[in-house]
């Protein structure tokens, strides 16, 4: 088996209580790397089209990458995926923390969970063994209490726990999965798929060592990166991602009041600097990483208007903006409390904030009234109402029950007037990056396999003045953030392919591993004579598998669209009035499809592309095109003829050979 992997995948059938182990070969690991690549392979291969994401036929897959657990910064990363209860399409999400490396130490690269348990259970994976245990006593508990209870029951404080939370139990469609309580596989509602299976948690503990072909070189690279971090990343350590609030506000791209505006008058009050100087009590990290970008905030009883439990960490940029500016809330304590509740109930803070912001705009426009909100004055800016709504969403109480469905479904129920306030792509609420500021990212939202996402996307502002980091991809010239020309699309394609790769390898994108270093690291770990080309193809392979999955689910090019709001001018701020041209956006999307080897109009992957990527089997998963369906009868005749074709070919080959 290649080093870096255990060579074992655990399969757990919750319906039958059966546990088995599979051992894929080295080529499988080399082609898919783990994480997203592995999840996309199994979901496409094993799920029947059209299965209910909240039913027993869905599968939840935890997957480490081949680099997860390597002794280098950023290697805490790992993934969990399923058919998304939020989008109805391909779903996966990544997190850092310590669970991924621990799962590997316990002897497994991935866990595939299928079926549905009759009663709540959790999976206990330890040193090559696995068992299902009763979780009735954990049901309904907050995340920190669940982790503590599992550690106490099994008598080991070193156990790492991934769990679905109260949100997942209640099938909130954007319930996420957390590990170590403060690390979140945020997007796509995978927690709901887990809760629907009656699977409360996966607990892991192991003692195997991570093995590399050239362990000395891996350690050396790890040390060099740690030194680089210590010397150059002080700003990131100090503020993490939270310093971004004022920067985006200054540039006019801070998502504000449900993306109506790009600047928030309360930005400074909720910025990372203010948080550092008021509520911050610590900085947390992931496995082997010296950056410590994770926040820890606290308010003890009597210190403020809310008690904020430090065991739930603290908000990062996405949560600050989603629960802050997006809801017009400038009360940092309320934002931190709302974030703490999201973490305690294991809800995706982005979608939660977006759902509340959607409801606030509906309320301000008379679509929702006090009758619907249970008397809450759900105007933008009401921090108390925000905190209440998070509780109500997690427990599906009152209006919270509707919002727990996500903004797309909620808008369908509220009627056409509400639809224009539902800011999502393919059912997934937008993350906190304004497409009118970063237009390539806007196209990235539409073509993302998981619906709107910022992690496998480009951030156009990075390429306005400098393209040094992407020159190895053939991107040699800078370009404006608003550019939507083919060169921007090329940047989107090439960078995003490699984002899929990094999400398969199990590396954190915040650690500045260059592409060359990623190649070298993979070589040192596995001994493979690999290249940037091979890495890039692995990312493209994952993207294509996920695309075929979505096409099979009937998600067509028409679903790959930005909400109308972004074709209208931004309300305020430094780039007030800026809008995206629908024509240019459509052209850029078609250009991306074409560059991917997909049909320019429909976005359907071509058989040639699937052949090139070595996943020709995936073509059979594509539904028939209209032309194929029409040609059904003649196609049969052709097939009959084709049966004899190999014989002829053989004869002619024989003749030639002879």
């Amino acid at each position: 088996m290649p080093n870096g992997s255990c060579g074992q995948i655990l399969r757990v059938d919750l319906t039958r209580g059966a546990i088995s182990v599979e051992t894929p070969d080295e080529n499988f690991y080399r082609a898919h790397l783990g994480g997203r690549g592995l999840i996309a392979h199994y979901l496409l291969k094993e799920l029947k089209p059209g299965v209910d994401p909240l039913g027993p036929e869905n599968k939840v897959i935890f997957a480490t990458g081949v680099l997860t657990g390597a002794p280098v910064a950023g290697s805490g990363r790992n993934s969990v995926g399923a058919k998304s209860p939020l989008s109805g399409g391909y779903g996966d999400a990544e997190a850092g923390g310590f669970f991924g490396p621990e799962l590997k130490r316990a002897g497994f690269d991935a866990v595939i969970i299928e079926g549905r348990a009759k009663r709540p259970v959790y999976l206990w994976v330890h040193d090559g063994q696995a068992e299902l245990r009763d979780a009735a006593g954990l049901w309904g508990k907050k995340a920190y209490d669940v982790e503590q209870a599992i550690r106490a029951e099994l008598g080991d404080k070193g156990i790492r726990v991934a769990q679905c939370g109260v949100g997942g139990e209640n099938k909130v469609r954007f319930a996420c999965v957390s590990n170590d309580v403060t690390h979140f596989y945020g997007r796509g509602g995978i927690g709901a798929a887990m809760g629907a299976k009656n699977l409360k948690a996966v607990a892991a503990r192991g003692h195997a060592q991570y093995a590399s072909v050239n362990a000395e070189r891996v350690k050396e690279m790890g040390r060099a990166m740690t030194q680089h971090i210590t010397e150059n990343e002080k700003g990131f350590t100090d503020l993490g991602t939270t310093g971004t609030v004022v920067a985006l506000d200054a540039g006019g791209g801070l998502p504000t009041r449900n993306f109506r505006d790009g600047s928030f008058e309360g930005a400074k009050k909720i910025d990372g600097t203010t948080m550092r100087d008021t509520l911050l009590v610590g900085r947390d990290s992931c496995f082997a990483c010296a950056i410590h970008c994770k926040r820890v905030v606290e308010r003890k009883p009597g210190e403020g208007r809310y008690v904020i439990d430090r065991n739930y960490g603290g908000p990062e940029y996405e949560a600050l903006a989603a629960l802050g500016s997006l809801c017009g809330v400038d009360d940092l304590e309320a934002v931190c409390k709302a974030s703490e509740l999201c973490n305690a109930y294991v809800l995706d803070a982005i979608s939660t904030g977006a759902a509340v912001a959607f409801a606030m705009e509906c309320y301000e426009n008379g679509i929702l009234t006090k009758k619907d909100t249970g008397g809450l004055d759900l105007r933008f800016g009401n921090g108390q109402a925000l905190v209440q709504m998070v509780e109500d969403i997690a427990h599906r109480r009152g209006l919270g029950d509707l919002l727990a469905e996500g903004v797309a479904r909620a808008a369908e129920k509220l009627g056409p007037k509400a639809r224009r306030f539902a800011i999502h792509v393919r059912g997934q609420e937008l993350p906190m990056h304004e497409p009118r500021m970063k237009m390539g990212l806007g196209i990235g939202y539409t073509i993302s396999p998981t619906g709107a996402d910022h992690c496998h996307n480009i951030h156009d502002t990075m390429f306005v003045k400098r393209v040094e980091s992407v020159k190895p991809l053939g991107i040699l010239e800078t370009m404006p953030a608003t550019d939507l020309s083919p060169r921007k699309v090329k940047t989107l394609k090439r960078v995003t392919d490699l984002r899929h790769t990094i999400n398969s390898l199990g590396l954190c994108q915040f650690v500045s591993w260059s592409y060359d270093q990623q190649v070298e690291l993979l070589h040192a770990v596995t001994g493979w004579s690999t290249s940037l080309l091979e890495l890039s193809l692995a990312g493209e392979r994952a993207a294509n598998l996920a695309r075929v999955f979505n096409v099979r689910e009937g998600l067509a090019a028409a679903n790959d669209r930005l909400p109308d709001r972004f074709f209208q001018g931004l309300g305020n701020g430094a780039i007030a009035g800026t809008k995206i041209s629908r024509k240019l956006a459509d052209a850029a999307k078609g250009e991306y499809y074409a560059m991917m080897g997909w049909d320019r109009e429909t976005g359907r992957p071509s058989e040639a592309k699937l052949d090139e990527l070595g996943i020709e089997w995936a073509a059979a998963q594509l539904p028939k095109t209209k032309a194929q369906a029409k040609a059904k009868a003649p196609a049969k005749r052709t097939a009959a003829k084709a049966k004899s074709a190999p014989r002829r070919a053989t004869r002619s080959t024989r003749r030639k050979t002879a």
């Binding site: 700003g235 004022v246 540039g251 990075m462």
Partner: protein, 78 residues
């Protein structure tokens, strides 16, 4: 001479004295934003944008005594 209070965002603080994120800089009268960046030794390609007294500023904008300058690095994911 004029004194400017400047704040460096993101990892730009590594160009500030002692790696701090805030510092005062003294410059000749009539200095522009671009002169401030030069005086700090901050490479233009690392700077996404600059605001003066909370309004976005062009490189040629003239600075005045007491101005508050924010220097931002490009912003990626979060």
């Amino acid at each position: 001479m004029i004194t400017i209070s400047a704040r460096a965002h993101g990892n730009l603080r590594r160009h500030f004295p002692g790696g701090r994120d805030e510092a005062d800089f003294t410059l000749p009268d009539g200095s522009r934003v671009v002169d401030l960046l030069k005086a700090i030794g901050m490479p233009d390609v690392e700077v996404w944008m600059v605001s003066v007294n909370d309004l976005l500023a062009k490189p040629e904008q003239i600075l005045f005594d007491g101005d508050r300058v924010n220097i931002f690095a490009p912003v990626a994911g979060g």
